[in-house]
Symmetry: C2
Subunit: 460 residues, 2 copies
Amino acid sequence: MIKPRTPPGVMELLPREQIAFQRMLDTIRRNYERFGFLPVETPVFELSETLLTKSGGETERQVYFVQSTGALAKEGEGLPELALRFDLTVPLARYVAEHEHELTFPFRRYQIQRVYRGERQQRGRFREFYQCDIDVIGKDALSVRFDAEILAVIHAVFSDLGIGDFTIQLNNRKLMRGFFEAQGVTDGEQQALVLREVDKLDKRGADYVRETLTGEGFGMSAEGVDRILDFVAVRSTGHADALARLDALGQGSDTFNQGLAELREVLELVKALGVPESAYCLNFSIARGLDYYTGTVYETQLDGYPQIGSICSGGRYEDLASHYTKSKLPGVGISIGLTRLFWQLREAGLIAGSDESSVQAMVALMDEGQLAESLDIARRLRAAGINTEVQMESRKLAKQFQYASRAGIRFVVLAGEDELARGVVTVKDLLREQQFDVKREELASSLKVELEQARALAGR
Amino acid sequence: MIKPRTPPGVMELLPREQIAFQRMLDTIRRNYERFGFLPVETPVFELSETLLTKSGGETERQVYFVQSTGALAKEGEGLPELALRFDLTVPLARYVAEHEHELTFPFRRYQIQRVYRGERQQRGRFREFYQCDIDVIGKDALSVRFDAEILAVIHAVFSDLGIGDFTIQLNNRKLMRGFFEAQGVTDGEQQALVLREVDKLDKRGADYVRETLTGEGFGMSAEGVDRILDFVAVRSTGHADALARLDALGQGSDTFNQGLAELREVLELVKALGVPESAYCLNFSIARGLDYYTGTVYETQLDGYPQIGSICSGGRYEDLASHYTKSKLPGVGISIGLTRLFWQLREAGLIAGSDESSVQAMVALMDEGQLAESLDIARRLRAAGINTEVQMESRKLAKQFQYASRAGIRFVVLAGEDELARGVVTVKDLLREQQFDVKREELASSLKVELEQARALAGR
């Protein structure tokens, strides 16, 4: 006998939680599709040589390799042939390069699949987790207009998820680079080091950061440091304020001016796309992956739960697939790490465990002799699109109600001898705590009306 | 530069095909949910000790093992700790045993995930493929009534998939075992060997099979062989004929009689569930996995494409999780191998590559100055639930139409200066090849009506 257990570092859910998780996945997918993104799925494993081209040592240390029993026996030379994807970006690069001549550009794809990282074991860290990505990939060039559209998608997704107010924070790497260069920090790596120190502002305070940056390692001027600290402290409040803050920056190098112009255009189009101004702001401290993003960058925070960190991030990159093709493929995209987000929301008590089941109605069985009637009632409900379970064996009615209630099933349908004689069924609405009789042929349509109303109220 | 390619033995789809595939997945899921099955997902890898308990050598040879870079360096002793699931049944057994006290029985779950087998490379054989499973698991006992419900689910799924007429073939392992025992073939393994010979009927003919079974290896009597050949040749046509064929079998051993009674009950309830009698039949040659199934067994064939083989199979088993728990957990379930089915349908020309896109409308851009108008139109369409793409950069209108047409987008919305002045937009319906003007505020609702009609016509 073997003790049944999941491997460490995975999130496995009970059905009620899985229903809540699935609803979030469906919501994300629905919104991605609403903006015209096309579905792509790639295999869970890639050839190791494909997966590991780009990676530094860090990524490689976290990769899971895959070997069939046969390959395991033969091994010896080099790395195994296959490895599990550790994100959806490398597979996208491989996909676009491989199918380049069969795709239309700008190529807009969404991809919702699990990825794998051999992380150190730690609470809230997952070795298997969902990523929900969208990207727009251009050939040779891609208008900055898509950067605005992506922001509108983030807004649509998180409005629809209904997990609370959120703010999409916006910055531009060109603006940032231009600004740092003007302060004499011209080297990209040096900029990264300075930013890492600046990131400690919240924890260590301005004095600590000022001391470090003017100290031996960095040797910056006190005025330069203050200008940087002022710059990264910028948060806009509202659309007009965002534009005003851009105006206040004045002019700078070409790179700086280009970043400025891009941010202006993104802001303008985000407004045209109907995103409310409370949902976005400028935040000049946002940098993201410094060696990857080259223009717009996004982070998204739940206003009530800043400690959760960014729940949706991404940005603009110069060239998606330089390892696999000579074509230049600039793009812009975002990723939602849903497994971790779900876990954090659950920890914060924001996932209601009392959500309704995916099962909407249960036909109770009051008497063994009436099973065929029950099955017929269920058939009609299902034909009308109502998810219906039948009690296949008769047991105490109280037990059947208890089951439906615990399972989160809203409607219990009863058709005992008395009801059958009268040509009606009795419906118990466990949500509204009401009971009513309805003609058998009107049952499906009347439950449908109730369910439509609930959907409309929930804004789905 | 690395040549971008997928590993051998996987099916990767272009977006148009992925949309068709996704529609099939959605249809299967919708029907599983309609019958009250609850979603479960398990990690892609299980502990090797969990996964390999049950397996004979065959399964083990096909398993993919998973190792992080760290584990790879340390290896030496024994098998790697993790392995990819090769089906959804072993993970289900582990899941139910692990969460036994948190689940309600009968436990009805659906699971739609990919599984992995290190198969020999061969056309139409996949190393990664989707399985779409449902199972009902009882505790200690499970009524045969669920066997009928499962058949109704198969019927609902394949009716809704709309890939042609199909027949669900039904048999019962108890009936079969009782019958073989009466012919003196009492040993389970011997029954399997006889069945394997009987399976050659179509290819080799009755004479060959008769000769083999009366020959040295088997030594059966000619009459016994004929009785077996008559038995396995039974195919019912219609409900009454099915019952008559059961009656014609007379009585036999307890096992035989029990199988007979179960088949009768399943047939009766299948009818009560409203499954049309053209959709199912008895086929006494169906055996499935002989060491696993113990009662009802199902196979499903496309009437027009018998060469495709069974597209949905399963049956009743005695005990799901004896390796992981002392509880007795009988169950009944089925599996649809969607990757292979999709591949076969495509080979047979049954997947229409000209399916509509998931994108329903495209807002054309006639003039750079009108981008904000385009974005506003798109916003209204999306708010009404219509999947909409915007042309973000103006180019020749003919190019924009060509793009929409190739992508399978049904509606192209035009709002040039003239239309804007008149407060209307022009809609080109590429499906119906019609064009009409509509007031801007009525655009979303009028497209919605068209889309609802198309959905109703398609029976979705």
